[in-house]
């Protein structure tokens, strides 16, 4: 038995060595060829290897190495990339600076593109979201409260569930706005809506507002059953499930088509995603890391000294009398 195990061990070790050997297929010649092709000097390449804690054995092939190096940043390669994006160097610098980065700290053209795609996409998402919120008359303060609420939720679970809701809503997005909803569709829409609110720990209240400003409470089901808004506007008050008022918004009758509700749902799923990943860092300041201890120690010392001085002066005065 012992023998079998040791033979097995040897076999395993040998196979590992063999696999490792097979992986380390990049030769010095291949490295030289790739570097010459890329126009990259050996020192810069070594610097990049060290930075990523890699050695030549980590590369399976010349292509693998080539992918790792990417396109070195030169004036020509940068110009070529800029023309593909239809940007000027100034625009690129400005966009990167807005996110606290720069061309200089990137390793390759591919890295710049990766950052650029990410930031452009983020920029567009933020703009779309802000436009939508402004259209329904939300203030910045209310948006802050809403984001603070989203941040307090369990992000991992939230994103997962919101994705499911998004796919359920997709069937409604392809729906012809002229056609009537079937009863089954209405039920599905209401159940998606309610489930979404549950996930987000929100509880809204709806009121119909007429020209004189009088409010009448109405349920979501009643709302979906309406042919058109019977009053001038709809007031929505959004509470957390704990009963705290987050925001109120008023939408006019002409904004309220069944389209709008579907779109609102779609935007809400985006908010869940964005709140989880991106926007949470907006509008916040870096903490004050100047500790007050030094100043306070000085103040303490000063107090002691004043006290001692006073004490001495007083003592002298009483002795002299």
């Amino acid at each position: 038995m012992k023998k079998v195990i040791s033979i097995l061990l040897v076999a395993i070790i040998c196979s590992n060595v063999w696999v490792n050997h097979a992986l380390a297929a990049v030769t010095e010649d291949e490295v030289a060829t790739v570097l010459a092709e890329k126009g990259l000097d050996r020192a810069t390449f070594q610097e990049k290897l060290d930075y990523f804690e890699l050695t030549l054995t980590d590369f399976e092939s010349a292509e693998d190495l080539s992918d790792f190096i990417g396109t070195p940043i030169t004036n020509e390669s940068l110009d070529e990339m800029l023309s593909r994006y239809g940007m000027t160097k100034e625009e690129l610098d400005a966009l990167l600076a807005e996110y606290g980065t720069s061309v200089e700290e990137q390793w390759s053209i591919e890295e710049i593109e990766f950052a650029l795609d990410f930031y452009q996409n983020h920029e567009a998402e933020m703009e779309g979201l802000e436009e939508f919120l402004a259209a329904i008359g939300l203030t910045e303060d209310e948006i802050h409260k809403l984001f603070a609420h989203f941040e307090s939720l369990d992000q991992v679970a939230l994103e997962e569930k919101m994705e499911q809701m998004g796919t359920r809503l997709e069937t409604f997005l392809t729906y012809d706005p002229e056609a009537e909803f079937t009863d089954a569709q209405v039920d599905e829409l209401i159940s998606v809506w309610e489930e979404m609110l549950g996930i987000l720990h929100l509880s809204p209240k709806f009121y119909l507002v007429d020209a004189s400003g009088a409010k009448t409470a109405v349920t979501f089901r009643e709302l979906t059953a309406m042919e058109e808004l019977t009053s001038d506007a709809l007031l929505i008050e959004l509470y957390t499930s704990a009963g705290e008022l987050l925001l109120d918004m008023q939408v006019s009758a002409d904004m309220l088509t069944s389209d709008f509700i579907v779109n609102a749902g779609e935007k809400l799923t985006d908010i869940g995603d964005i709140a989880g990943e991106l926007t949470k860092l907006k509008h916040q300041q870096m903490p004050d890391t100047a500790s007050p201890y030094g100043m306070n120690i000085l103040i303490g010392l000063l107090l002691v000294m004043i006290g001692v001085t006073l004490f001495i002066i007083r003592n002298r005065a009483t002795k002299q009398v």
Binding site: E105, S291, Y293, G300, G307, F311
Partner: protein, 207 residues
């Protein structure tokens, strides 16, 4: 009577002064001695079997599971940051309130946790835990260890910005560690600026 009154005041001043003095010295020392000296060892780099680098093909086989199942509570220790250049290891605590910053490095709660994609922001006092932060150089390693694993970051950029510079907090396409402290590195006075070290995740070892 006047003499007694005046003597009382001077003794009270001495008393209050001593309390303020000792109390603040104690708070200062708590931060000053937070963390421990470490020896630089190479063991980190050896454990390459279970690591993944964003640039190697190993990434493809990376587990899709989230790194952390629950968000830490404010005041809870979430890990340590080892700075080989300074031969120091410092505790990272959730939150950036005064109470947290007194004890160690604070993790900015609304940023992602160490190792996660996007921007992870940690801050510390310039005169206690991060008093030698200015010695760190470009491409220096910073190693963060949490319950989720060990994460090797490399310093990509060092800059000095205004306190209200929002570009420090902006989202990142890759897993990034942003270390901030107050600047200038004086012991006294307020700080209108921040010293910011941006490091990029180079290798991670899942627990």
């Amino acid at each position: 009577m006047n003499a007694l009154f005046s003597k009382g005041i001077s003794l009270a001043l001495i008393g209050v002064g001593l309390i303020v003095l000792f109390w603040n010295t104690a708070l200062f020392l708590e931060g000053f001695y937070a963390g421990e000296n470490i020896e630089i060892n190479e063991s980190l780099e050896e454990s390459s079997t279970a690591t993944s680098s964003p640039y190697s093909k190993i990434q493809v086989t990376k587990k899709k599971l989230p790194l952390y199942s629950t968000a830490p509570d404010v005041g809870e220790k979430i890990g340590d940051i080892a700075i080989p250049r300074l031969e120091r290891s410092l505790p990272i605590i959730e939150g950036t309130s005064n109470a947290v910053l007194r004890k160690g490095v604070g993790h900015f709660s609304s940023s992602v946790l160490p190792g996660e994609k996007n921007n992870c922001i940690i801050s510390g006092h310039r005169d206690t835990v991060f008093r030698r932060l200015g010695e760190i150089k470009l491409h220096d390693p910073l190693i963060v260890t949490t319950e989720a694993g060990q994460f090797l970051y490399k310093v990509k950029r060092i800059r000095i910005v205004d306190a209200d510079d929002s570009t420090v907090m902006s989202p990142r396409p890759r897993a990034t560690l942003t270390v901030t402290t107050c600047y200038p590195f004086y012991f006294l006075g307020n700080a209108p600026q921040r010293y910011v070290i941006v490091a990029e995740l180079v290798k991670s070892t899942r627990m």
